[in-house]
Symmetry: none
Subunit: 137 residues, 4 copies
DNA sequence: GTGGTCTAGACCACC
DNA sequence: GTGGTCTAGACCACG
């Protein structure tokens, strides 16, 4: 469960945990049915308050990504949820706009962006070359 | 100025304003030296408190995008700031990772993502076909 | 925190707070990593509006002197920022010119100025012999 | 009347004018009895509003540095005023503290500060090697 | 408890 | 007219 926390970050800690878990899910580094560390365990590992990890787990559970089995632990759901179509489109478009704006501001064109995406894909799929940057999502 | 506010959004109002202004800058819809509406004016137009717009302007000023001249108004900086190379890379890579993760989760592959980017580019450059979604960035 | 506010001063209150904090930093009275009082607490102590203290903290944060952690508080950055060399020189030279001009106007020569500096140094390092004058910087 | 205006500066324009005139007075570049350009003239030269120059002149007049003779123009007073002792001390001490804090923050000690003062003195007395930096005071 | 955001009002300084 | 500062309140999110 390689998770990296940046305490002072703009993104709240529990959100950092959530987005890193969903990234791992999207990419297949976490498999359906797989068991996660207990929130206390993970909290100790990350040196943060247990409640904070629990909040991340709870949110992910209410979104349908995780499920907890009393006394056994927390697991990745076997059937991952599909977001509502409207939300999907909107979120992806927003992310696309943001990426484009950033690129434009540095003078990178669409071709360059695609190049960057290729590298990011490679990184996401085959391990974490730059662990530090993983907390940024 | 064509800014669209979504009151209940997760992103705070002043952030929505900031990101829409920086998007406009990146894309050239706002030109260096151009005068922005006064924060009071824009606040009235958006039906929000003047201080909220002012906060957005202030942040953009401290980031080097805008500059204010007492008694005259707020303007786009003539020389836009260059981010430090490290920050640039990290920000763009984070945005790329986020876009990819979202796409993966919906079963869209890199080709599909590029398609989405093309549409987003078109939207950013020429008018606002889906004005509502522009506030999400 | 020993901060002294002069309500009617030409320098705005939040600026008075900022300059007294940066002075404390320069001189070592505030150490890297140290926790500052919450903006509400300090506001109550100084008998001013909480937002006013917050503005001072916010500015110092965007300048890289302080960092805040949601729910935990505001802290002195562990690594204080280095100004760009050009800015450094210019700021120091401007301060030197101002000091000299003031001295000249009163008929104090360089020797006298050095004498004044010695006293100021002593004051900054060890207690606040003239607390009232400390708000002027 | 070499005056340099920095439009976006934190210091209001009329204050920039005032401080550059008083600096010139302190250093002797402007002599008692000397005639200043009319506020309209100077305004045109500096490309700013005449009212702004007038305000600077008015303030300096009410402080006793300048005097206007109806129909003849504005002149440096023959007997320059002495500030009140309390104000003097306070202003000079504040300037000293500010200079010291800046120096400390860059790792310059009292010896280095004296060195800087020597250079500044030389510059002030013998013409303006760096005209740009003169607007900072 | 902490900081983060927003409101509605006020008064001032500047140009 | 512009921006700059300050107040007194409110509600939310975070740890």
């Amino acid at each position: 469960m390689q998770i990296l926390i940046r305490p002072g970050d703009e993104l709240p800690i529990y959100r950092q945990i959530m987005s890193q878990i969903t990234e791992a899910l999207a990419v297949g580094r976490l498999q359906p049915g797989e068991k996660l560390p207990s929130h206390r365990e993970l909290a100790e590992e990350l040196v943060i308050a247990p409640l904070t990890v629990k909040k991340a787990y709870d949110e992910l559970e209410s979104l349908g990504f995780l499920e907890t089995q009393r006394g056994r632990g927390t697991f990745v759901c076997s059937r991952l949820p599909k977001l509502k179509m409207a939300d999907q489109r909107e979120q992806i478009e927003a992310a696309a706009r943001k990426l484009l704006s950033l690129a434009y501001m540095v003078g990178v064109d669409l071709g360059g962006v695609v190049e960057i995406l290729r590298k990011a894909e490679d990184e996401l799929l085959h391990g974490s070359h730059s662990a530090a940057s993983r907390a940024a999502g």
